[in-house]
């Protein structure tokens, strides 16, 4: 059983995702990084589901995929509206929320 290898892959993907969220300025790339994070979670779920020999983890991963799809839909819609308003999707220019 390649449990360690799966978990390792998940961890690497997670780190790449976190790095992308923190460093990238492009809203679309940030969304993609979030997808990476979600999928790293999926890999972990599947790895443990395989080890435990139960389908629960796989079912949960399917839910995650569905939720992720919805999330990306909402996110891209937001990006589109932001672009219409400010003609840019750079996150640096979106600081109207500054307190």
């Amino acid at each position: 059983m390649l449990l360690n290898e799966f978990l390792f892959l998940g961890a690497i993907l997670f780190c790449i995702g976190v790095y992308g969220v923190i460093v990238r300025k492009n809203a679309v790339l940030v969304l993609m990084s979030i997808e990476l994070i979600l999928n790293s979670v999926n890999i972990n779920l599947l790895a443990f589901s395989l080890r435990n020999g139960s389908a629960d983890g796989q079912t949960f991963a399917l839910y995650v995929i569905a939720v992720a799809a919805a999330e990306v839909g909402v996110g891209l819609a937001l990006v589109l509206l932001v672009y219409r308003n400010s003609r840019s999707i750079s996150l640096d220019e979106l600081s109207e929320m500054k307190g």
Binding site: I22, L91, K98
Partner: protein, 766 residues
């Protein structure tokens, strides 16, 4: 009589096999691959994808012919009356909850007959389409759908089990929708496509119901006796004749399956979609109406014949559902063909009527003549449709109206005319042409098996067929050119992109069109000699090769031998020599073995009967010719406009014109009757119940909220809110710097907090 019970000894037969028989599953697979290639790369190819389709179908044709040749060798390697085992292969397709669904091949004489016919006609139709659709806007898609359509039919034909059969059946349904609605810009075409789809879907419910009913009724028996599931064709056939099935289960199953066949094969009362399906391009009509799609229903009855034989009690009584529907369809459709002005619609109703013959034959125990009629009908009907296409392509400027735009084309299109005449004679059943050998056999056997009334219906149908085909021939090829055929072309079609020929007037079509016509006409002329009853038993090769032998075989008797690839060893129960034609299959429960085909009788051929039906055909043709000459040629004032002057005739004409008001019944009464009250009820419920509840709720809420506002809100809540606001303000100014407005920073904070949380979790848990 049958004596198997007392003697345990069995007779062993070793059957030959070969590569083509073993690998017949390639036949539907190659067009599927071609379909994928056409969709992926078709537009980039020099011939826009048609080369993939034609190449794959040619390859399938080669494999089919090879397999047919090896099947003949296999039959010859068995004893003259011994059972010839089909070549069955199964792989597990998918498994779910303990059920395993297979996919594979069931190759015997019946499936090979259809495989050869379908691949041959598909190939010819695709070659024809290269010329006919040249320059069409969706040329590549057309070839993709056409190739997948053939693949669906081929898959259905060699299906090993019902699930695989449904797969092919539904692929065909979908592709027919795409092809009929090929020119969907015209609203009428897309409506016709929808109508075809929904009408066949109505029947398909029966297919699903029937398959499930039969599976649950038969699975226990087939698993125990044969070790195969109750979906398999072989299992169902054996089960149906085993005496195991309860009367209700098999009857319900057979009736449900037959409803699917009514829908797919355009039998009365679901035949209405078939003439409308003429909206598609002519090659589609040709393929759809000759060897694929509409034949699927007839094929299903022939394939699972034991199920229908037992379920419908064929030969047991003088009337059953199949023979009744078939008989009605023959006459009703043939009568409709008289009032059509569209040449393709005449042919469409003729197809419906011919399918009625096949159904009637199957329902009356004339299995082989019905299957042979599928075989011959495919050639001459494909040829007739392609002739109609040729006429519209090269002479009448894309019009199919016989009365307005054709006439006198005999001189201009000699090849089309000759092939049309040969196919027409075959369709009418004139002696040396193929239709005679199959149609006459059906009528003869139906009468021989005691269905006298239906024999009369069959003869009436033959009379009507000769008459309406004479009318169509007269209007198209005789007299003077009219309308577009005479050079007037005001009715330009939207999809017509090559106008060059119009200025040249009517002329013969190119080689890509005429060569398929000639091949099909040759087959329409000669195919009958594969089973010519008048020439005696020795000539009836089709009967020898295709008809399954009603032999009692031991349940585990078919085994594949290790020595050669797929050579089978068949164990048959011994029978008394004198009882050769008295197999118990179909009448009594066989002991110690199984049957896969019922014992059927063949009518002995008599020239007197054949001459009588020939006389009827000639009478029909002659009367129709005289009427046509008077009506259309000489414009006899007594006949022209008779339907307007005579009330009774006018009413009949109107009745036929409106297709017995079946369309009106379906659309206005059934669809409207079901959909309209439902919509009304929903609207009423919406207006009264839901709105009432909502309004009442609103009133109550308003009153309650007024009280709450005055007492709770103003006094209790406001006090608390003002207090907490002061707290929040102080706290807010303390943590305001974190709200930088930078999303990335928020992200970093989020992950940082999550990391700390995870760390705490790890520390606590260890």
């Amino acid at each position: 009589m049958f004596f198997a019970a007392e003697t345990a000894e069995t007779v062993e037969t070793v059957l030959k096999s070969g590569w083509f028989l073993e690998n017949a599953w390639l036949i539907p697979l190659m067009p599927v691959i071609a379909f994928v290639l056409i969709i992926a790369y078709g537009k980039k190819m020099p011939m826009k994808g048609s080369e993939f389709g034609i190449a794959s179908l040619l390859a399938s044709l080669a494999v089919s012919v090879g397999a047919a040749y090896q099947w003949i060798q296999r039959v010859d390697s068995a004893a003259p009356e011994a059972f010839v085992a089909p070549v069955i292969k199964t792989w597990t397709w998918w498994e779910s909850a303990g059920f395993s669904f297979g996919i594979g091949q069931h190759i015997d004489g019946l499936s090979l007959t259809l495989l050869v016919v379908v691949t041959l006609i598909s190939t010819l139709v695709e070659i024809y389409s290269v010329e006919y659709l040249r320059g069409d806007i969706r040329y590549t898609h057309f070839f993709g759908a056409l190739t997948l359509f053939s693949a669906g039919m081929l898959n259905m034909v060699l299906a090993e089990n019902m699930i695989q059969l449904i797969l092919g059946w539904e692929i065909m349904g979908m592709c027919s929708f795409l092809l009929i609605g090929h020119w969907w810009e015209d609203g009428a075409n897309s409506r016709a496509a929808l109508k075809a789809f929904f009408t066949t879907r109505t029947g398909d419910i029966g297919l699903l119901v029937g398959t499930s009913v039969l599976f649950f009724a038969s699975n226990a028996w087939t698993q125990k006796t044969l070790g195969i599931s109750g979906f398999t064709v072989r299992g169902l056939s054996a089960w149906a004749l085993s005496g195991d099935p309860g009367h209700a289960a098999i009857t319900v199953g057979a009736v449900a399956l037959f409803i699917a066949c009514i829908g797919k094969s355009g039998q009365f009362p679901l035949h209405t979609w078939l003439p409308d399906a003429m909206a598609g391009p002519t090659p589609v009509s040709s393929l759809l109406h000759s060897s694929t799609m509409v034949v699927a229903g007839v094929y299903l009855v022939a394939r699972l014949y034991p199920v229908f034989f037992t379920g419908m009690n064929i030969l047991g009584t003088n009337l059953n559902l199949i023979v009744l529907i078939g008989g009605i369809t023959i006459v009703i459709a043939a009568a409709l063909a008289f009032v059509q002005a569209d040449i393709k619609k005449v042919l469409a109703y003729s197809t419906v009527s011919q399918l009625g013959y096949m159904m009637m034959g199957l329902g009356a125990g004339a299995w082989l003549p019905a299957v042979f009629h599928i075989f011959t009908h495919a050639f001459f009907k494909a040829c007739l449709f392609l002739c109609a296409g040729s006429v519209s392509h090269s002479a009448s400027h894309h019009s199919f109206d016989m009365k307005k735009d054709m006439g006198g084309l005999r001189k201009f299109m000699p090849i089309t005319f000759a092939t049309w005449i040969i196919s027409t004679l075959a369709l009418c059943g004139v002696f040396p042409f193929s239709g005679f050998f199959s149609k006459d056999e059906i009528i003869d056997n139906v009468g021989h098996n005691g269905y006298t009334m239906f024999m009369v219906l069959g003869l009436t149908g033959a009379f009507l067929t000769a008459a309406y085909m004479t009318r169509a021939t007269y209007l198209t090829f005789n007299g003077k050119p009219r309308g577009a055929a005479a050079g007037a072309h005001d009715s330009h079609d939207a999809h017509d992109t090559h106008d060059a020929h119009a200025s040249r007037g009517p002329h013969e079509s190119g080689l890509l069109i005429t060569v398929p016509l000639m091949i099909l006409a040759a087959l329409a002329l000669g195919a009958g000699f594969l089973n010519p009853a008048p020439l005696g038993e020795k000539w009836e090769r089709m009967k020898h090769w295709v008809e399954p032998r009603p032999e009692v075989i031991s349940p585990t008797g078919i085994s594949v031998m290790a020595s050669g690839p797929g050579e089978a060893r068949v164990l048959t129960s011994p029978r008394a020599e004198e009882a050769k034609h008295e197999s118990p299959c179909g009448t009594t429960t066989p002991t110690g073995g199984i049957c896969v085909a019922p014992q059927l009788d063949h009518a002995p051929f008599k020239w007197s009967k054949a001459l009588m039906s020939m006389l009827i055909v000639f009478l029909g043709g002659f009367l129709s010719w005289v009427l046509c000459v008077q009506l259309y040629g000489k414009k006899n004032p007594k006949l022209v406009g008779l339907t307007q002057r005579n009330k009774a005739l006018g009413a009949g004409y109107l009745f036929l014109q409106n297709k017995y008001y079946l369309d009106a019944l379906y659309e206005k009464v059934i669809v409207h009757g079901i959909a309209h009250p439902v919509a009304q009820a929903v609207y009423w419920f919406n207006q009264n119940v839901i709105d009432g509840v909502v309004n009442g709720f609103g009133t109550v809420v308003r009153k309650v909220s007024g009280w709450v506002y005055r007492n709770v809100d103003q006094r209790v809540v406001d006090g608390a809110v003002n207090g907490s606001a002061a707290v929040a303000q102080n706290a807010g100014s303390a943590i305001r710097p974190i709200q930088s407005g930078k999303v990335n920073q928020y992200g970093a904070l989020l992950f940082g907090a999550a990391a700390i949380g995870a760390l705490i979790l790890v520390i606590i848990n260890t």
